[in-house]
Amino acid sequence: MTLRPTSRTTTLMGLLAAATLLLFIVDMASGSVALKFTDVARAIVGADCPEQVRSIVVELRLPKAIMAMAAGSALAVSGLQMQTVFRNPLAGPYVLGISSGASLMVALLMLGGSALGFSLTSNLGWLGIAGAAWTGSAAVLLMMLAFSRKFNDIMVVLVLGIMISSGVGAIVQILQYVSADDALKNFVIWTMGSLGNVTLEQLPIVLGAVAVGFILAVAAIKPLNLMALGDDYATTMGLDLRRSRMLVFASTTLLAGTITAFCGPIGFIGLALPHVGRMLTSTADNRILLPATTLIGASTMLACDAVAKTFTLPVNSVTAIVGIPLIIWIIIRNR
């Protein structure tokens, strides 16, 4: 037998799905007002419960919990894709500067645009933010691809990614320095990363874009499996590398770019969680890794959000505290 029995994989997926569901309810129950699990469950399914509970759960916490799942799974899958395409265990939307690219474009729009009467209060404004983030992440991705092909050395690519992030950071600081107070405040809050900025009306925009990203990710499963062997093998097995890369990059742009636009830059999820997926499934097959990483991303982000709400912390500081030890462990294990 060359193929591992699938029963273990099925059990694992079941457990991950159960964990996601459990954390979804925990996340809904946690926050400044403590709610009973039973009330939360009743509110979600539309059963009889106090009106106040219903309004907190459905109008405030539900969009946030859905965003947490979308953000966690989108960033984790984007990290999985980047690690495969760049063939580097330390690649991820944050490390490669993709989030920075998105940040820069958003900063230009939020800080520069406020002078031109750009407003965040409208849905059109948020669509503008999303568009800016997509443009920024796609631009950085293409740049990093060009670098990685020219230098063929993964350290160079990583150092360039860090340089891009620092360079963008500097430009953003300059923008902040010269900006009006209102726009500045909006932007600073955005950079802290929050899952709570998204209203029920904006949710369809986010979920739609992320869903398209996931459809492209599924279409990219076989190309990604082949790319894991390197360009030469992928090419000689009939893969159109250019097209496949574009497919993966479109997917990552939609996944990481959209989440960055609406939640701000959230680090470490994209870098660390694909490794958790590989460790739990002990496979390199993206047909298993993609769903596993999706569930791990969703559940981890729900847990981080629950912690962030309980201690009223910005969510990206929680993801950093969870992610950094994981990443150090990955580096040590890869030695």
Binding site: R4, N225, T236, M237
Partner: protein, 242 residues
């Protein structure tokens, strides 16, 4: 069957080939026939790997024609059905097992998701058995020795089930017994009717196992049986001076 009656698998027609602005082959014509094991020899930088990559479709920087099974204009997908390529460098494959690696060789035949049918699974098992790795099928490729990993990569090529197999320096990084094992393996593959070409620096191994030897020397491709080629090889590598 007489050698000249075997069907032609690869034909080079007036091929001129360069690498980074340096001309490596000038107006070379040659024919490689089905079922033959050919060693491609030459000094460092002579253009062995560059020629192999050109035949594999990885290097388009040439003039003249490379005709594969009668066609000189193959799409990447068509080529993947005709040529399997095995590189020198060992890749880091993380959690990938031997079975998963070899299964990827079926990619040209599988659907958009890469689902393995029964026939694919059989081909994968058979390819692993051919290289003698059945016991290690569920082991991670990264945990294998260099020789075993090289054989796993070759099994991936066998699973691709192509009439032509190209290997770039498969013997480097291998100790003497592993090199012998590998040469026997390549010979067996050729005996099954495949055209096998590999680049190597192992002159003695090449002369002992191969049906044909191709030698790149001074931008020419010299080609013949091991006996015919012996004096030319000695001259090219200055062996008579030692």
């Amino acid at each position: 069957m007489d050698n000249n009656q075997k069907p032609i698998a690869i034909e080079l027609r007036h091929l001129s080939l360069g690498f980074k602005g340096r001309e490596l082959l000038t107006d070379v014509s040659a024919r490689f026939r089905a079922g033959e094991l050919t060693a491609l020899l030459g000094r460092n930088g002579a253009g062995k790997s560059t020629l192999l990559r050109a035949i594999a479709g990885l290097n388009r920087d040439y003039s003249g024609d490379i005709v594969i099974e009668g066609s000189s204009s193959l799409t990447p997908r068509e080529r993947a059905r005709l040529i399997a390529y095995v590189a020198t460098r060992r890749e880091r494959l993380g959690e990938m097992t031997v079975g998963q690696l070899v299964a990827l060789g079926r990619a040209p035949m599988t659907n958009w998701l890469g689902t393995l049918r029964e026939a694919d699974k059989e081909a994968v098992d058979e390819a692993i058995a051919t290289v003698g790795l059945s016991e290690l099928a569920n082991r991670k490729v990264d945990s294998l020795s260099d020789g075993e990993a090289q054989r796993a990569m070759i099994a991936r090529g066998i699973a691709q089930d192509t009439p032509i197999m190209l290997l770039d320096e498969p013997t480097s990084f291998l100790d003497l017994p592993s090199r012998e094992t590998l040469a026997c393996l390549l010979k067996d593959i050729a005996l099954k009717g495949k055209t096998v070409i590999f680049t190597t620096h192992e002159l003695e191994l090449a002369q002992r196992y191969c049906d044909r030897i191709a030698l790149i020397d001074s931008q020419r491709l010299l080609y013949g049986s091991p006996v015919e080629m012996a004096p030319l090889i000695n001259k090219s590598f200055n062996l008579n001076l030692i």
